[in-house]
């Protein structure tokens, strides 16, 4: 995935680049609006991360220009955290809004979520393989291998595992998991999630009673541990 980062603060731009490159994204950084517009016109990007206060065109002007020609996903990443700023930013056509200082995990999760929403099943994103601690899932092939051994998962189990692995390190409540995977309103389905999590553990954990990957945070929910 090719990401354009428009951030006037060099240090911050480098930090964003660092986190994105850790996720194996191709990152292009520019520090002003005019260069960003030129880069956008002459290249193809899958995602844009945009600061609001930048030299040349400001973030609002730039997104207005971009939206005249493209529906590429855009996230505002800025220190301006007032409600009015957020409303204005989203109103201008941004797909999401992150206020500095940002949590890198949250930023990556939001990028993935936005990207997933605007891509079809055959896209590059669907081809991407996620591998953490020897557990590998391939969304396109709908396959799971644990230490090289292929395992079978049903549709819901695969959905839960994929969601948690894509957002490894972040904790989600049962409601959040249910509403993301089932795409339905959550009405006290705690047991449903518990049963599915238990089945997933049987397939990915060496000791399902003491899981090291798919971890329960008691009273809160579940997370897939980062390595």
């Amino acid at each position: 995935m090719r990401i354009l980062v428009v951030e006037d603060d060099q240090d911050m731009a480098q930090l964003i680049r660092l986190h994105l490159e850790n996720e194996n994204y191709e990152v292009f950084v520019t520090t002003n609006g005019i260069n960003a517009w030129e880069l956008f016109k002459n290249n193809s990007f899958d995602f844009i991360i945009l600061d609001i206060i930048i030299p040349g065109f400001d973030g609002y002007s730039l997104i207005r220009k971009i939206r005249n020609t493209s529906m590429v996903p855009v996230i505002f990443l800025t220190s301006k955290g007032e409600n009015s700023d957020i409303i204005l930013g989203l109103g201008m056509g941004a797909d999401d809004y992150i206020v500095k200082p940002f949590n890198p995990l949250e930023m990556i999760a939001r990028i993935k979520a936005q990207y997933r929403r605007c891509k079809t099943k055959d896209d590059e994103f669907e081809k991407a393989v996620i591998e953490i601690a020897g557990i590998k899932i391939c969304p396109k092939e709908f396959s799971l291998t644990v230490s090289g051994e292929e395992k079978k998962l049903n549709l819901r189990e695969f959905g839960i595992l994929r969601f948690l692995m894509e957002n490894a390190g972040m904790v989600f409540t049962k409601k959040q998991i249910y509403e993301t995977v089932w795409n339905e309103e959550y009405i006290d389905n705690g047991n449903t999630i518990m049963v599915h999590i238990s089945r997933i553990r049987e397939k990915i954990e060496s000791d399902p009673r003491n899981p090291r990957n798919l971890v329960t945070i008691k009273g809160i929910g579940y997370k897939f541990a980062r390595r």
């Binding site: 911050m12 930090l15 206060i53 200082p101 940002f102 949590n103 995990l105």
Partner: protein, 490 residues
């Protein structure tokens, strides 16, 4: 001085004029009632005012001067007899002069009834007793009232049966008087009602308007009051209120203007401070993650601790900036709670879930007891999220790694939330601040206790939730929050 005296007298003058007008109106009502009574009498008794239709009324000692004009107009007749009831004068009568009545005829005529109801008879002796006058009127020529009058007042007369169909004359007079009296009472009540209404409106109308304006100002709606044109005390009060409302509105406009400018300035400062701090925190976060992965083996433990200090204080500085920005907003007049009924337990889980990676990263322990059951409460998600994050921030900044954070919630008739840790406990200043907080004495407290606690108390107070610091708790810090089911009182 004289002018002032006159002004002070204004309302009493109005009262005097109003009461005088009431008196005049009562007199006028009496006059109207009198006219009404007269009209009723005139309508009912116009036939026999100056009536000369009976023997009694036309009687005269000089029989030549008897006035029979009205009787003749009604096609009646008159006979004058001597003592022996021999007709000496006949006026339009079917009996000629010289005709003699027998005593029995007259008895039949006046006392025993007379089968012929064509005529109404009356008779009377002259004062000297020398003559007897007989008057007959055709009944079809006489109105019902006249008929009644004659029946009641003329004796001897013939009274045909239909007399009984009419109410008595006295009853009619009584009815008329009662009607007139009722009319007077009605007029009196109407006069008093309209007088009271006018008098009370004169005073109450501007007062009610002023009360509405005062209530409106009390509720924060600083609209301008249009002063009354009256010159009395109420007019002066209205003028003062109008001036006050203008001044208040101008001041509020200025306060909002200053608040807006301050907000803009703070927003700019926040932006300028947060950008470099974000780099500090971001890079130190990255380095810490890399060090945890053992990718930089050449960094010693001391260096690692220095890095943790940089990271921790960078985050603290960002939180302080956020707190200052929040205080600025909360102290302005803009903070309105956006209350929605939500499952508080799920909200807690989601808020805490966002902080767990950070707690894990630093190496804190935690325990959460949040029931799976729904607990729907009214609260402002954003503001209570800020409270929870401030409490967790306080735990992170003030306690060493491996400290344990415990958050529990339960429900009885109210919801109870406790946040406790086994860390270093609160500073002396923070304890002092919380002790004073129960008396709402927040003045300058945030300087000593930190902005975080100040914001927590402010937002919980705004929600009507009770916050308590458990002083007896010795193994760290424990806060209890009691949440009633009712909506916060604005």
């Amino acid at each position: 001085m004289h002018k002032r005296y006159l002004k002070i007298k204004r309302i009493s003058t109005v009262f005097f004029i109003n009461n005088l007008s009431l008196f005049i109106m009562i007199i006028f009502s009496l006059f109207l009632s009198g006219i009404f009574l007269y009209v009723l009498f005139f309508i009912n008794f116009k036939d026999y005012t100056n009536m000369n239709l009976t023997a009694n009324e036309i009687i005269n000692n000089n029989i030549e001067l008897i006035d029979a004009v009205e009787i003749l107009e009604k096609n009646g007749w008159v006979e004058i007899t001597d003592r022996d009831f021999k007709i000496v004068k006949s006026i339009n009568s079917p009996n000629r002069e010289g005709y003699s009545y027998r005593a029995g005829d007259l008895m039949n005529l006046f006392f025993n009834g007379y089968n012929d109801s064509t005529y109404l008879y009356s008779g009377s002796f002259t004062l000297d007793g020398s003559h007897f006058v007989i008057v007959a009127l055709p009944t079809e020529e006489v109105s019902a009232e006249t008929y009644q009058y004659i029946v009641e007042n003329s004796r001897p007369i013939l009274a045909p049966d239909k007399v009984n169909n009419y109410e008595s004359f006295e009853n009619k007079i009584n009815t008329i008087i009662i009607c007139a009296f009722m009319f007077f009472i009605f007029l009196l009540f109407s006069v008093i009602y309209f007088h009271s209404k006018r008098t009370s409106e004169h005073i109450l109308k501007p007062l009610i308007k002023m009360k509405d304006i005062a209530n409106s100002i009390k509720n924060g709606n600083y609209r301008i009051y249009e002063e009354s044109r009256r010159k009395d005390e109420i007019g002066q009060l209205s003028k003062a209120l109008a001036e006050m409302s203008i001044q208040l509105k101008n001041r509020m406009n200025k306060i909002e203007e200053y608040a807006g400018e301050r907000k803009k300035l703070l927003s700019q400062i926040t932006h300028d401070l947060k950008t470099p701090l974000s780099s500090v925190v971001g890079y130190s976060d990255h380095l810490l993650v890399q060090l945890q992965k053992k990718q930089h083996r050449n960094i010693g433990n001391d260096d690692l601790n220095y890095l943790k200090i940089i990271n921790k204080n960078g985050k603290r500085a960002i939180c302080l900036i956020d707190d200052i920005s929040s205080i600025s907003q909360h102290e302005s007049y803009f903070l309105q709670l956006n209350l929605k009924k939500e499952n508080f337990n799920e909200f807690l889980r989601e808020t805490i879930a966002n902080r767990i990676p950070e707690l894990d990263e630093i190496g804190f322990n935690y325990e959460f007891e949040i029931p799976e059951t729904e607990n729907n409460l009214f609260f402002d998600r954003k503001q209570i999220s800020r409270v929870m994050n401030n409490l967790i921030d306080n735990f992170i900044f003030h306690n060493p790694s491996e400290s344990k954070l415990k958050i529990t919630t339960s429900r009885n008739t109210e919801t109870f939330l406790t946040i406790e840790d086994d860390g270093v406990g609160l500073s002396y200043d923070a304890k002092l601040f919380l002790r004073n907080a129960s008396e709402k004495n927040y003045e300058n407290a945030e300087k000593k206790a930190g902005t975080g606690l100040y914001i927590i108390l402010y937002l919980l107070d705004k929600h009507g939730w009770n916050f308590k610091y458990e002083e007896e708790y010795e193994n760290g810090t424990k806060f209890s929050i009691t949440i009633p089911d009712r909506l916060p009182i604005p």
